[in-house]
């Protein structure tokens, strides 16, 4: 009898345990007290997170009926988590997504269209209120899915002291000036026979290449986005030009074993191509004199890589959730000058023209590139393409493959991805 009871107890305990897990898509509390809660996700783990936190608190102070529950998730796992939440439930009311991600989620109805929200309220927003590129990037197949918050173009950061010591008074603007400046600032400072101060360093190879490629009128895909363009003569010229800096002019180190951004911050490199979002890390570096400028003309046309943060809402969001989330999104957009101070270029054209923004020296220099910025291809399979782009650029810069071989390998694989249903 005792045994039977014990057996029943074990079974009940097991069944109980199996029911312990929360049900999928369990409703989250939407209200705390008399305040409606807005769940807001982003990946701003750096100083930009503090800026965003400040803006969100200011929004709460102005909107006492709302409370924002902000979750900062490292970018590395951010999209894994966001994707699962959009598919299986538990998505936030408002979230940040890069412009290039819209094409990934929109075809599967995972994003809410925002045209009606943009047109709502006392001060509706339209095309004229935004810089052209981020506005265009917020569309997928003619439908709009995001509110552009910012633009973050790549620009040229220079160590002002090293340039001055090399007899240069301003940032280079052409390829020849760039190579000359890099040559003059590449030095063996301790006389041990090894270069320990470089004129230029490749930081994030992907964005550096996209910038070079943009200036040679090319990119990952052909203009019709149907096939790979990396093996085109234009891109081979772009890749070769990047390689020249290491192997011909010897003004940049091979990107192996070099923490390039750290080298720039430590004054061991005179120039680097990086996004405006790196500005705060330079401002935090004690004793570093730096300046920001548009990317010099390396190729036949002006061009630089840029990304944009968009504010997105989940597909199928309730009207109440959308309405509350949009109030926060609008507030962030309206106050994106504050956001720009942390190292961004606002997407709102009125703010771009404002004297306050013009007073931000580096941001306004980088913003001069807005007319010719280039995004990654806004296609659903971008992730699948990028896995082949990075190794190609790396193989060229490390000297493991010629530009022709590396680009041809990349194109073979990229075309395979494009052909896959």
């Amino acid at each position: 009898m005792k045994l039977r009871r014990a057996l029943i107890a074990v079974i009940v305990a097991c069944l109980g345990c199996s029911g312990c897990a929360p049900a999928r898509g369990a409703a989250r509390p939407e209200e705390i007290g008399d305040k409606r809660v807005i769940d807001f996700w982003n990946g701003f783990t750096g100083p930009d997170g503090k800026t965003m936190e400040r803006m969100v608190r200011a929004f709460e102070a102005e909107n006492p009926d709302l409370r924002v529950r902000m979750q900062i998730i490292p970018w590395r796992v951010y999209y894994d988590k966001l994707t699962l939440a959009l598919v299986y439930g538990g998505a936030p009311d408002l979230f940040i997504l890069h412009a290039s991600r819209i094409a990934q989620f929109a075809p599967y109805d995972k994003l809410r269209r925002v045209e009606d929200l943009l047109a709502s309220g006392t001060a509706p927003l339209g095309e004229a209120d935004f810089a052209a590129a981020p506005w265009k990037a917020s569309f997928y197949e003619g439908q709009q899915f995001g509110l552009p918050l910012d633009v973050h173009p790549v620009g040229l950061y220079c160590n002002a002291r090293l340039l001055r010591e090399a007899g240069l008074s301003k940032a280079p603007a052409t390829w020849d000036e760039f190579v000359e400046a890099a040559r003059r600032t590449t030095k063996d400072t301790d006389g041990d026979g090894r270069t320990d101060q470089w004129g230029f360093v490749f930081t994030w190879q992907r964005t550096n290449w996209l910038t070079f490629a943009a200036q040679f009128g090319t990119g990952i895909l052909t203009p019709d986005e149907r096939s790979c363009d990396m093996a085109s003569p234009r891109n081979l010229a772009a890749l070769s030009r990047m390689r020249e800096l290491i192997y011909t002019h010897r003004v940049a180190p091979k990107p192996e074993g070099v923490d390039a951004w750290l080298a720039f911050r430590q004054g061991k490199a005179a120039m680097a191509l990086e996004g405006i979002y790196m500005l705060s890390s330079l401002e935090e570096t004690e004793g570093l004199e730096f300046l920001g400028a548009p990317v010099p003309r390396f190729g036949a046309e002006p061009g630089t890589f840029a990304g944009s943060h968009m504010l997105g809402l989940p597909g199928g969001a309730s009207p109440e959730s959308s309405s509350a989330a949009w109030r926060l999104a609008r507030y962030l957009s309206d106050h994106s000058l504050e956001w720009a101070r942390g190292g961004q270029v606002p997407a709102r054209s009125a703010l771009l023209r404002s004297p306050e923004f013009r007073a931000m020296t580096v941001q306004s220099q980088f913003a001069r590139q807005l007319p010719y910025i280039r995004y990654e291809p806004l296609v659903p399979k971008l992730n699948g393409l990028m896995q082949h782009v990075d190794p190609c650029v790396e193989a060229v810069l490390l000297g493991l493959q010629t530009p022709e071989d590396a680009a041809s390998d990349a194109c073979r694989r990229i075309d395979q991805v494009l052909r896959r249903p």
């Binding site: 045994l3 039977r4 014990a6 057996l7 074990v10 079974i11 305990a13 097991c14 345990c17 199996s18 590395r76 894994d80 994707t83 699962l84 959009l86 598919v87 990934q104 989620f105 075809p107 599967y108 995972k110 041990d192 026979g193 090894r194 994030w204 992907r206 990107p255 192996e256 074993g257 070099v258 923490d259 750290l262 080298a263 992730n383 699948g384 896995q387 990075d390 190794p391 790396e394 193989a395 490390l398 493991l400 694989r413 395979q416 896959r420 249903p421």
Partner: protein
């Protein structure tokens, strides 16, 4: 029948049922967890592998073995397999050798024995994330401790007149050729303590009489190890090898944490099969394709394990 023992009466049917039910009852908590968290997902994974399963897509069409064919015809799958095999070939022998040497050392040390055991075992309990971050710093080309030591050694040797080239920082994890050996070294440091304890238990189980008899026959330390300890350690070695191979084929965290962007390290040199599977599933969102890669890895490990068992079993008979 031995006297004093009662002849066991045959169980009645109801008692038989009761015994079975009680046994099942005790096993049930594990069975449920096993079924829900292992067997179910494994079976579901196979189901996924037969479909084109994009995580965002509403429809998941059945494609038969297309994902498997796709993986086998994808040269990056073969690069990942080659890297994984290279890693296994480095880690399994080296790791087991280090574990065995540590165990032999510990077996002959009595003072501070527990302190040594603890010191060698501690890395095993550290999470791979912590280990990888730690080693990423050790391997840092500009500021890493390893290069500091190499530099001091090179300078010291040059100081005493050896004709060595001036020190050049070693790109431990940024040169594609160095990546797998560097990750293997890190893994051996991380895991050697586990097998060390198992080997130590095996060594302690060898009866002293055998060593004594060998000593009387004039056997030296090496001969006693070669002809007494080593043959008797065969089951232990089989266990350690099988588990090392299984664990090494599933290498993931080392590469995932050490190489942030792009994943897989320079020139895909640290792209291992488990990482490739993860990237296909959670970066490309092709869950069906990722599951097919997982099953191919499973099949490979299954075959290798069977081969190891067969080799050791037949070796055992010859002894």
């Amino acid at each position: 029948m031995v006297s004093g023992l009662k002849a066991r009466r045959p169980l009645r049917r109801s008692e038989n049922w009761r015994d079975t039910a009680v046994g099942l009852g005790f096993a049930l908590p594990h069975l449920i967890l096993f079924a829900v968290f292992l067997l179910g997902p494994v079976a579901y994974g196979f189901y996924l592998s037969l479909h084109r399963w994009h995580i965002l897509a509403p429809e998941h069409p059945f494609v038969g073995l297309q994902n498997y064919a796709g993986a086998l015809s994808d040269d990056i799958f073969w690069i990942a397999l080659r890297n994984t095999v290279y890693f296994v070939v480095l880690v399994v022998p080296l790791g087991n050798l280090v574990s065995l040497l540590l165990a032999l050392g510990l077996a002959s040390v009595w003072r501070f024995n527990t302190a040594y055991k603890l010191a060698y075992y501690v890395p095993v309990v550290i999470s791979i994330a912590v280990v990888a971050v730690l080693w990423r710093w050790l391997y840092n080309t500009q500021a890493g401790l390893l290069n500091v030591y190499v530099k001091q050694t090179v300078n010291a040797l040059r100081g005493i007149g050896l004709p060595l080239a001036p020190f050049q920082p070693v790109p431990w994890i940024s040169n594609p050729d160095n990546v797998v050996p560097a990750l293997a070294l890190m893994t051996v440091w991380w895991t050697a303590g586990g097998n060390m304890l198992i080997y130590l238990a095996g060594i302690m189980n060898v009866p002293d009489e055998y060593h004594e008899a060998a000593r009387i026959d004039g056997a030296g330390t090496w001969q006693r190890f070669r002809h007494v300890t080593w043959p008797l350690l065969r089951p232990t070695t089989l266990f350690c090898l099988v588990f090392s191979v299984l664990a090494s084929f599933q290498v993931f965290g080392q590469s995932y944490v050490v190489f942030d962007n792009p994943p897989g390290g320079p020139a895909r040199s640290a792209l291992f099969l488990a990482l490739y599977m993860y990237l296909q599933g959670f970066n490309q969102y092709e869950l069906g394709y990722g599951a097919a890669v997982a099953y191919l890895l499973f099949a490979l490990v299954l075959v290798l394990t069977a081969v190891q068992f067969r080799l050791f079993a037949s070796g055992g008979r010859k002894e």
